[in-house]
């Protein structure tokens, strides 16, 4: 399914139901995970990244959002979730190319509708 690049969000910033309708169910499910959104926001700046960096970014983003300090074990458990669940899901719906052997995202494709959703959802 191709995302509709037009009218992804209203001027009040709410996601239009139609936009969600035009995102595939797989993408909506993948993007429901806050870790996935942090990862994609990072990959929108730089389309390739090693898993370790993405785990750092998720840890930092969580720390900033919750006002806490995220330590190595929490960061490592995030890394495991990214590797086994989040990145395979994003890869399955065509948003990233993930090489699980090298633990590296080798490419990222973010459509305007996905991009708009990332901008509007925390």
């Amino acid at each position: 399914m191709v995302d509709d690049p037009q009218s992804a969000v209203t001027d009040t910033g709410r996601i239009e139901a139609e936009t969600l309708d035009r995102l595939s169910e797989a993408r909506i499910r993948a993007l429901a995970d806050p870790r996935a959104r942090v990862v994609l926001r990072h990959l929108s700046e730089d389309s390739t990244a090693p898993l370790s960096r993405l785990a750092d970014v998720v840890a930092g983003s969580e720390a900033a959002a919750t006002g806490s300090v995220v330590g190595p074990s929490e960061r490592d458990s995030n890394r495991a979730v990214l590797h086994h669940k989040t990145l395979p899901l994003l890869a399955a719906c065509g948003l990233v190319d993930y090489d699980p052997d090298d633990c590296t995202v080798t490419d990222t494709t973010i459509s305007p509708a996905v991009s708009a959703l990332l901008e509007q959802v925390d």
Partner: protein, 250 residues
């Protein structure tokens, strides 16, 4: 620690990296400036998540992840009023490791004039406190001779206990009486190569303790150019003081 060079190595090994993830260059620049006198490298990575969600990743000298926190939280920790229990109380993070970033140890290369300026500051600090112990090591007898009037005044006009360290090998026939030092100043002149290799100053803080502890340890790499550290960190000052006392004084 078994040698003075172990202290230099351990401080160097404790150097941290603060990786600032932000799309606002000013945030990184401010942190760079804030940490410029600490044992920390500050780097910036472009990151645009939600507004106000800038964060830092703290890494050890090998690049291993030690912890991540929002720049807002870092500011809170840096603020002496809130530092640090509220922010870190519930964290599984190794508090010591993170706070290492905040300690006031500077590891660097010095020009001679910079080293002199730091030692002058430390000498003045000891003078103001007026009690406690000062260990000062000179690489050469001429360097001590230049400072003898100052240390004699320190010894006579304060209650400081001063011990001077001088490399014995530099002048094996020297009589300590030739040094013109006040009688109350102890002289340690061991047959130990390391004493001649380092310029150091250690003040244990005296009666006011923690607030005034300070130490400097530097080796001359090339003429006039030194490598080492200075610190206000009480733990490191105590370690250096204890090392010198047990090895050479006690």
């Amino acid at each position: 620690m078994e040698t003075l060079s172990d202290f230099v190595d351990s401080v160097e090994a404790r150097r941290k990296t603060l990786e600032v993830h932000t799309d606002d260059a000013a945030v990184a620049t401010a942190l760079e400036s804030q940490f410029s006198t600490r044992n920390v490298d500050v780097t910036r990575r472009q990151f645009s998540d939600r507004e106000g969600d800038d964060f830092v990743v703290v890494r050890d000298a090998e690049g291993t992840f030690l912890g991540a926190l929002g720049t807002d939280q870092l500011e809170q920790i840096l603020s002496p009023e809130t530092h640090p229990p509220q922010v870190l109380a519930d964290s599984e993070v190794d508090l010591g490791e993170i706070l290492d970033v905040l300690d006031r140890t500077v590891f660097t290369s010095f020009e001679r004039r910079q080293l002199v300026a730091i030692v002058r500051e430390f000498e003045e600090r000891a003078w103001r406190v007026g009690t406690g112990t000062v260990y000062v090591g000179f690489q050469r007898a001429e360097a001590l001779a230049a400072q003898t009037p100052l240390y004699n005044r320190l010894a006579r006009e304060t209650d400081l206990s001063i011990t001077v360290f001088l490399d014995d090998a530099a002048d094996p026939d020297r009589d300590t009486a030739d040094l013109d030092l006040d009688d109350s100043i102890g002289v340690v002149s061991p047959e130990s190569a390391e004493i001649g290799q380092y310029w150091f100053f250690v003040f244990d803080g005296g009666a006011d303790g923690e607030l005034y502890k300070c130490a400097l340890l530097a080796a001359e790499r090339t003429p006039g150019s030194y490598h080492g550290f200075w610190t206000d960190g009480p733990g490191l000052v105590d370690d250096l003081y204890t090392y010198l006392r047990t090895r050479y004084v006690a």
